[in-house]
Amino acid sequence: MKPIIEIKDVSFAYSKQQDVLKNVNLTIQKGEWITILGHNGSGKSTLSKLLIGLLKAKTGTIHVDGIELNEDSVYDIRKKIGIVFQNPDNQFVGVTVRDDIAFGLENLQIPREEMIERIDKFSKKVDMFEYLNKEPQQLSGGQKQRVAIAGILAMKTDVIIFDESTSMLDPKGRKKILEYMKQLNDEGTTIITITHDMKEAVSSDRVVVLKHGEILKVDTSTNILRDKTTLEQSNLELLLPLELLHYMDSNNVDHQSLKDFLWASSLNV
């Protein structure tokens, strides 16, 4: 496999006192699905903004598809990386769904005929074809997020970053977005999900755990999800079934104590 994103010794600070990111090193392969997991303020969203050049790293270099990210190349790199943000309302630029999907294409100066083709194709892909003439206030949060995805897909980027894209959605909307991620990854798109939700990490190939701007651990999702010490160190919670697994490993479990454990952890949610 070929690396598509190479991050070398990247540090970043909003103010002089404190570094938000400290010497981050990470290589992401083409076609990979990687999850960046971290608590609030761990620097995970900052990392995504660095990748598309919305912020400038203090030190270190970022290469995307072999091109170094700098002031001259930033516009070319944005053609390779798309990003779906957290708040569905604050990334809906167009007056209608059609206009919003077209926005990125207009910026890329795609000819009109091709634009129409792509809008039809990718709105169908996220099941929003019937909504093309609707206005954002007529849509649910999940639908708006799907429009955002279609807008990025239509730009045909190699990498899509989902920056906490599901955190403002209801469980149904979240599930649907996760399905699209899976489907896109199967079709060869490199996917980076940024989240603090364990469930989103499950399907990815690798998980990067961030804590206070430093990479705590990089491993396959199955290994990380089981790794209680790493997760606890970075203020993250194990999924309930896995917590149960740990409990059963470390205790002599009978029927009653199992019930007690489940009862206690259901109250902890």
Partner: protein
Amino acid sequence: MKNIVIGRYVPGKGFLYDLDPRTKLIALLVLMAATFIIDELIHMAAAILLIGVILVIGRISVKRVYLGLRPLLFLLIFTFAFQILFNTQGDLLFETPLYYSPITLGLVVVIVLIWGFTKRFIKFKLLYFLATVFLSLFVLNTFTEPLVFATGTFSIYEDALEMALFIMLRLIIIVTLSTILTITTKPTDLNLGLESVLKPLKVIRVNTEEIAMIISIALRYIPTLLDEANKIMLAQASRGVDFQEGKLKEKVMQIVSLLVPMFIISFKRSDELANAMEARSFIPGHPRTRLHLLTWKTLDTVVLVVSLTLLISSISIRVFL
């Protein structure tokens, strides 16, 4: 707060809907100019007839136009009254004496007080106000005796009446024309039209594309911001702010308690939106292709020629006759 009806696009069919937004914008400007140039009552009548014809052919409901005019009623009556009272040019048409005595003035005060207390229960406030004014004048005119300490006159001059009528009609025509434009044109089309009508300004380095982008984003976020304002009002109400009543000082505090969070939220929102736009390869000032195209039809040429003819003929009537 959500139903801002005035000047909203109303989906429909008809020749006004088929016209290119550019045509409608230019025709609006041309016809407005024409209404300011004509100065004969008969021509004004012709202009109103023309608008009536447009409304009928375009199948636009008069009620919608009236909704657009309603906010102007106060202005119309104010200018009318101003002209009648203070314009003393031309022939005297009507004159009647007014007698000021403690009795008549007292009665006027009583009438005004009654009006002040009852106006909130009356449905047609403006008519009620006019009735009050006429009743006051009538009282001042009738009770001659006794104790009259001063007399005055109430007089109407020809020019005053004419001016008042012209100002009213011009305002009505302008507002009706703009209402027709906004209810038959989608905001996005209007924006596209505006962008291309303003294009000549590029010569003096006005970036019309950016202006159009700003307008379209503003249009997009009006409902979102209204929603936001509603939420903040509810949140503040739950903390004890009463948005319904209060003295002036309290009213100011209420507005502050709404505006400050609105500002902060809007700035945060615009920051995120700017990020999202940049992430999708938006570069301010760079050329972009367009999804929406405006198509010029024969009908557009016809409408434009007709309105220009009207403008030219009104100018020539004014100059040569």
